[in-house]
């Protein structure tokens, strides 16, 4: 038997409303469909059980918090049955509009110890613009409920570059969120994904994208979050620490699950449209809940595509994602995994990156500079491998 896989991602593909910017797979909530999904998910987890020994679990979506108390009980029972009661980091994504005291308590007692809440903005007008179902007040209330239920590790998700958002609104959101004192923040720029309403509005000229403004927003995100006591450990992620740290340490409250992704760790996934990566093979589930359920009920997993990454692709991916983190590319870890020293593979590229002030070659690491973190795509593209 191979080494057990240490991470698990579970996709809950339901939302009560589809947001204007969202390109993730989700369906509008239909009770009988949700019930069938819960059963199928448990079925798939039982199949995966023997291969897993999770140290991190992440429930994403969709809106996992939309599941009813009863449905959550079913899922939690199933997971406890596999011996997964005490997981070092177990995250569930919540929408501020769907958090209740009972649900929060149930999750906490069931072993969930981290909540990631999609706040996006604290501006009522922008929340409406994005098609979010929650209000500014619900963010405060939900946060209080979660704290009350004993959650000591909470992430808040923010968005910047939203059409209509100016620097003042952004600063107000940042200041309000910082005041809540969550352990973790992630903030990302609105991406105009194909086939989202926002994308079509932009193409139709409903608004202009002001790159200058977005750049300023990113700068104040870093400045203000740092001043508020957060450490940037990845391009879009910030966390608090317990003690003072060097700029290259991973902060205490960093998301271990995501770090595992970025270090090209193996993880299994369950649920429609979710992707897993195990031993150099990336597999994706079908992006359709009915077909997924059919697949699991007939003894399979509903996997529809499989990509085997050849070593140069794995290496390029590893380096590109490592350079998105403050830690940078760890020469020793890389060499242990691939048998090559990164300077053998990319000596020239690393010199070029260094000469542009984007990273520094150290004894054991290739470290991105603060500038390099801002140009993570430019840096990453130097490492990826082009197959003909």
């Amino acid at each position: 038997m191979d080494t057990p896989v240490p991470s698990l991602y579970i996709h809950v593909p339901f939302c009560s409303h589809k947001c204007e910017y969202c390109a993730f797979y989700s369906e509008l909530l239909k009770p009988e469909q949700v019930q069938r999904f819960v059963e199928s998910l448990c079925g798939e987890l039982k199949q995966l059980g023997p291969a897993l020994q999770p140290r991190t679990i992440f429930f994403g979506g969709g809106t996992p918090s939309i599941l009813s108390l009863h449905q959550w009980e079913t899922i939690l029972d199933c997971m406890h049955g596999m011996g997964w009661g005490q997981i070092p980091e177990w995250t569930v994504e919540c929408n501020p509009a769907t958090v209740s005291k009972e649900k929060a308590q149930l999750l906490k007692q069931g072993g969930v110890n981290r909540i990631s809440m999609g706040v996006q903005s604290m501006d009522a007008h922008l929340l409406e613009r994005l098609g979010r179902i929650h209000s500014r007040e619900q963010v405060f209330r939900s946060f209080e409920i979660l704290r009350g239920a004993g959650f000591e590790n909470i992430n808040l998700d923010l968005m910047f570059g939203i059409p209509g958002q100016d620097l003042k609104i952004w600063h107000d959101t940042l200041d309000t969120i910082h005041a809540l004192n969550s352990e973790h923040l992630s903030a990302y720029e609105v991406i105009y994904e194909d086939d989202t309403p926002l994308f079509h509005q932009m193409k139709a000229g409903a608004f202009d994208v002001d790159e200058d403004l977005i750049e300023s927003m990113y700068e104040s995100l870093i400045d203000r979050s740092t001043a508020a006591g957060y450490h940037q450990y990845e391009v879009a992620n910030f966390a608090r620490n317990q003690t003072s740290q060097s700029p290259y340490d991973v902060p205490h409250w960093a998301c271990q699950h995501n770090i595992h992704y970025w270090r090209a760790g193996d993880y299994h996934a369950a649920g429609p449209s979710s992707t897993e990566y195990v031993q150099g093979v990336r597999r994706q589930h079908v992006s359709n809940t009915s077909l997924y359920c059919d697949g699991v009920q007939s003894g399979g997993r509903g996997i529809v595509s499989e990509e085997t990454l050849i070593p140069p692709v794995q290496q390029g991916e590893w380096a590109a994602f490592a350079m998105r983190m403050n830690q940078g590319l760890d020469f020793k870890l890389f060499e242990e995994r691939f048998g090559h020293h990164p300077t053998q593979l990319w000596g020239e590229q690393m010199q070029s990156i260094q000469s542009r002030g984007l990273a520094v070659v150290e004894k054991d690491h290739f470290r991105p500079t603060p500038l390099g973190m801002r140009f993570a795509d430019a840096v990453g593209s130097e490492f990826v491998y082009l197959q003909d």
């Binding site: 991602y9 996709h11 990113y218 879009a236 995501n258 449209s273 795509d377 990826v384």
Partner: protein, 596 residues
Amino acid sequence: MDPDLIRNFSIIAHIDHGKTTLSDRLLNLTGTISDRDMEAQLLDSMDLEKERGITIKAHPVTMYYNAKDGKRYELNLIDTPGHVDFAYEVSRSMSACEGALLIIDAAQGVEAQTVANLHLAMKQNLTIIPVINKIDLPHADLEQALVQLEDILAIPREEAIPASAKNGIGIEEILEAIVQRVPPPKPTGAPSTQALLFDSYYDTYRGVVTHVRVFNGALKAGSPVKLLHSGKNVEVKEVGSFNPKPYKRDELTAGETGYFTANIKSPLDIKVGDTLTDAKHPSPPLPGFQEIHPMVYSGIYPINTADYEHLKANLAKLQLNDAAFVYQQETSVALGFGFRCGFLGLLHLEIIQERLRREFEMDIIATYPSVVYQVTMTDGKVEEIDNPAHLPATNHIETIEEPMVKSFIICPNDYIGDMMALVAEKRGLLVHTETLDGSRVMLTCRIPLGEILIDFHDRIKSLTRGYGSMDYEHDGYEASDMVKLDMLVNGESVDAFSCIVHRSKAESRGRSLAAKLGEVIPRQQFQVAIQAAIGGKIVARETVRALRKDVTAKCYGGDITRKRKLLEKQKEGKKRMKSVGSVNIPQEAFVQVLKS
């Protein structure tokens, strides 16, 4: 054939005044082509020619006409390229004739091209037979056309023949006039054969087919002949005429027109205007030969660099039928591998580019065209410069002379002011103004060729709502205050945008180029300065502000493959970019500026 029974003539006309229709009608009436073939028959063969109403390549056609005097005459219609870009070819074709039909549209009157072509015909001492065409149109004004004929062209009105080529009116009269007024060819008195080469084309099966007019002696298969200017000796393989399809004849005698083939493989070996003579007993050359030189140069590049070889092959194909078109390899920092191409003029340049795009379906980009400057160096040497990159340093230059043209602009009275302003803007000098009739004037001006290359003709058309017309003839060189304008990106010159311009225009051109480049050069991680420089002096500057970050996207498990693919695409894209110093610029950006 008895030279007294031969008449050689050409037809000159403005676009759309009915040259092709009249030619067809003459062929039809003389029985050269049947009614049935009329529809399918057109002297112009390329689509582009039909569309633009111009003739680029045409064959001489031989027809036989039984005149009222009871004699049977051989009439040779020698078609001319009809545009002054090809002035030399036109003049050679005309020198194969003794007369010319001058067609004027009864509804539109004299146009600029009529004037330019008539000047060429008069220089050749041709007998002019004016034909007022389209007299049956509702807007026809025969009287006005006759007045213009006398006033503008100084041709007596009695000589004009009213006609309608479309409806067959006046055709017989025209044929009679050709017989009676055009003088028969006269032998030159030279000791042996003399024939003028006035055109050639490439035939896949027969090789180079050359159009000739025999002036003295005779030309037949098997004769060893000498091409006097190119110094080549060849043996004639076949002689013949066109009706309008080529047909073999035993010989071409003095005064006759037709074609010959020989073992000539490359069209470049045939020089238009050359004299063919007996190899053993050569006669002196016929007058008027000139080496032809391109007047306008432009770089042509494949948009997709992989198309380079393909472009090279297609340029060679074009050259087979167009020896006046020249090209050689060149490399540009911005555009990669391409060709420096030389053209006779503006229309020639447009035609070649259009043919590459349409007939050969090539995706190409052309650099800003340049004329040929005569640069006198401080040491007294004179150099011809057709590429700004080759212009010597200022301290070695004594003077720069630019080619001039004499331009004829005909427009309605209402637009005189606009035309004069345009001419002034183009650094032109109004030489002469003439009233054509109650409503139109003809302006004659002297303008630098370099100024009319880009939008002169289009501007005239749009300023006059399509009523204006323009043509020109070359008119020597003139010293001018020309400077080299360079576009610099972070201090590095971008060759595709360098140009030689008049000092008075350098700054505004530099400013507009800098602004355009500023729009298309993508932002980099550092600030990019775009400067326009004359010599060492910066005359315009634009700044592309530095990017402060990349896209900052969420990037979780399910996004990794997608993100990697984005990075791969970015890397792929960077490979296709051109580096100017440390600035990476996609070729499309350059193309966009050149197109605008």
